[in-house]
């Protein structure tokens, strides 16, 4: 693809999310949109992970589990061990990745619907575990978690204390969007690297890939761990925003939603999950005017979308048909 065109596209996108959106929101006074957009950005990070597991040919309906784990890791470390939010962020991601290696080793041998089913079960089991563990405070959850504090390096303040800010909503938005941009940059880099090519070979034919010397077991676990890292990251930031976490914060419906975001956006495109998240979450939010019919309209629209465009929205631009 044309390199310049791509650079212009990325620059326009960055300009839009970092400059245009805050200006427009300030002009229109719709401050509540920040919360929606922040959620979109965070959920897009989670769906990026789901997308990566799809890239190795696995349908992951367990991202809610890692988001919940990441959230609890961050919450427990902050409230019970006195960690700063900024320290818990990478810890949550890395711990989720580590757990996903343990879980992934046996379950990544499964394929297709089998893998999809077990990841969905994992979501429910994580919720039940969060209810039962001694330090998670059961169904009451962990509440009044402090806002992110100051982040400084060698005495230089990089990010000021959120509690002292005039407008923490904007700060959270910028944090979430920055993380999202970094996540998708990482995803793009992975896809266009040797690792990405190897992952594609797994998606197409695992036996064939293994027969020409691709270490499929290692690759599967690696991709799953990266995916879970994203999930944990998203969960940890969510906790910081809502300042609370409950076992039901991320449930089966959320895991299914993460998958839907990917599918709706289209699985053949790096930006697919971002678009899918934006459309579905924003659509859901807009439909709240329909009150009790919200879910009915939303699900009907989804079914209709599947009937019309079963290969995702971005497949509209896919003129070659099947090509990436």
């Amino acid at each position: 693809m044309d390199m310049n065109k791509q650079i212009i596209g990325v620059a326009a996108f960055l300009l839009a999310v970092f400059v245009l959106v805050p200006i427009l929101i300030a002009a229109s006074g719709r401050w509540d949109l920040y919360y929606t957009l922040t959620s979109v950005a965070l959920l897009a990070i989670g769906s990026a992970g789901v997308w990566l597991t799809f890239y190795i040919g696995r349908i992951n309906i367990g991202q809610g589990a890692y988001a919940l784990m990441g959230g609890y890791v961050s919450a427990v470390l902050m409230t019970q061990a006195g960690f700063s939010f900024w320290a818990t962020l990478p810890i949550a991601g890395i711990l989720c990745a580590a757990i996903s290696v343990l879980i992934g080793l046996p379950i990544l041998r499964l394929r297709g619907v089998y893998f999809a089913m077990i990841t969905l079960v994992l979501t429910e089991v994580t919720r039940l575990t969060a209810l039962a563990l001694p330090f998670t405070n059961g169904a009451k959850g962990i509440t009044s978690i402090p806002l992110p504090g100051e982040l400084s390096l060698l005495g230089l303040t990089i990010i000021p204390d959120f509690a002292t800010m005039e407008n923490p909503k904007l700060a959270f938005y910028l944090l979430a969007v920055t993380l999202m941009v970094l996540t998708y940059a990482a995803l793009w880099r992975i896809v266009n690297s040797r690792l990405g090519h190897l992952c594609r070979s797994l998606q197409q034919n695992e036996e064939l890939a293994a027969s020409i010397g691709v270490n499929t077991a290692y690759l599967r676990v690696l991709a799953y761990a990266i995916s879970s890292f994203f999930g944990g990251l998203a969960g940890a930031v969510f906790v910081a925003i809502s300042q609370s976490i409950y076992p039901s914060s991320f449930a089966v419906a959320d895991s299914v939603n993460f998958m839907l975001y990917c599918f709706v956006g289209g699985l053949g495109f790096v930006t697919g999950p971002m678009l899918g998240t934006f459309l579905l979450y924003f659509g859901w939010d807009l439909l709240s005017v329909a009150k009790e019919y919200q879910l009915l309209i939303y699900s009907s629209a989804m079914i209709a979308l599947m009937l019309v465009l079963p290969n995702g929205i971005l497949s509209l631009f896919d003129r070659k048909g099947g090509g990436k």
Partner: protein, 289 residues
């Protein structure tokens, strides 16, 4: 101990019936029916409406659940799954559709039946008591027996009727079945209707004991997935085995692990992971069938 076993058998019979419907749909069309739990809830609400609100006998309610769910299943197959399967590039697209249908049914249930927990009055009174070793209310026994009878009827249908033979042929090899003159479209529809009907029947049976509410759909689907993971997806004997094993594990786990809090499902999941590490296709499944 006898009590635990009896509870396990009772639970297992219900679970096996749910798993049978799910596995039937899966084996025929390679569709993972996320909406299975919602269909079960829907069936329960239909029985509730007929029995508790209109005052008709229980058996009428059960029949109503079966018929309404069978029609719903057939319509879903013909108008939703069939066109999507034909047009989509990947098998997985049906998952999105199934999830959409699950949400849709949730919305319909909420609008039509409301969000309250509903139940119907006991259908038989009295408690069976064997020397204080097994204590079980008669209605539970009746429901358990009905469930076992339905399972037996289903197996007989699959084994000895022409429809059953056609569906088994479809599950084995779609293409070959078609070449042998099996009307694929027709039997896919019948299969989906039958699977949905089973879900509705279990809902109708269980509404007399545990009651029914909107939130039960998702967890029921999850349990059904667990069962067909244990037994092997797409295999009828596997679904029955998986149902009884999960019922037994739940019954034993709830008693033995009660001292450690509510960790039964964590233990079941952990053991399932170990099991799957050795046997990814489940007890009776074909490898990547």
């Amino acid at each position: 101990m006898e009590q635990i076993l009896a509870n396990g058998l009772y639970l297992g019979a219900q679970y096996a019936l749910i798993a049978l419907g799910l596995t039937l749909i899966f084996s025929l069309m390679n569709v993972l029916n996320f909406a299975h739990g919602q269909m079960y809830v829907f069936g329960g609400f239909v029985t509730y409406t007929v029995v508790a609100q209109w005052g008709l006998p229980f058996i009428v309610g059960l029949m109503a659940s079966a018929i309404i769910l069978a029609v719903m299943g057939a319509l879903i197959e013909v108008f939703l799954f069939r066109p999507v399967i034909r047009k989509s590039k990947r098998d997985e697209s049906t998952m999105l559709l199934a999830a959409g249908i699950a949400f849709f049914l949730d919305a319909v249930i909420l609008l039509v039946f409301g969000e309250k927990q509903r139940g119907v009055p006991k259908i038989v009174d009295g408690v069976f008591n064997w020397d204080m070793r097994i204590i079980m209310p008669y209605d539970r026994i009746l429901i358990g027996v009905l469930a076992v009878a339905l399972i037996a009827g289903f197996i007989a249908l699959m084994q000895y009727s022409k429809t059953g033979r056609a569906m088994r042929a479809l599950a084995q090899d779609r293409m070959a079945a078609q070449l042998m003159g099996v009307d694929v479209d027709r039997y896919s529809m019948i299969g989906f209707a039958l699977g949905a009907m089973l879900a509705g029947l279990v809902g109708g049976l269980l509404v007399t004991i545990t009651g029914i509410n909107l939130g039960m759909g998702g967890p029921t689907s999850i349990k059904a997935f667990l069962m067909i993971m244990i037994g092997g997806a797409g295999v009828i004997s596997g679904a029955i085995a998986g149902g009884f094993i999960l019922g037994m594990m739940e019954s034993v786990g709830l008693t033995v692990l009660a001292a450690y809090g509510d960790i039964t499902y964590l233990v079941i999941f952990a053991s399932l992971m170990v099991f799957l590490a050795f046997r990814p296709q489940g007890l009776m499944g074909k490898p990547w069938g």
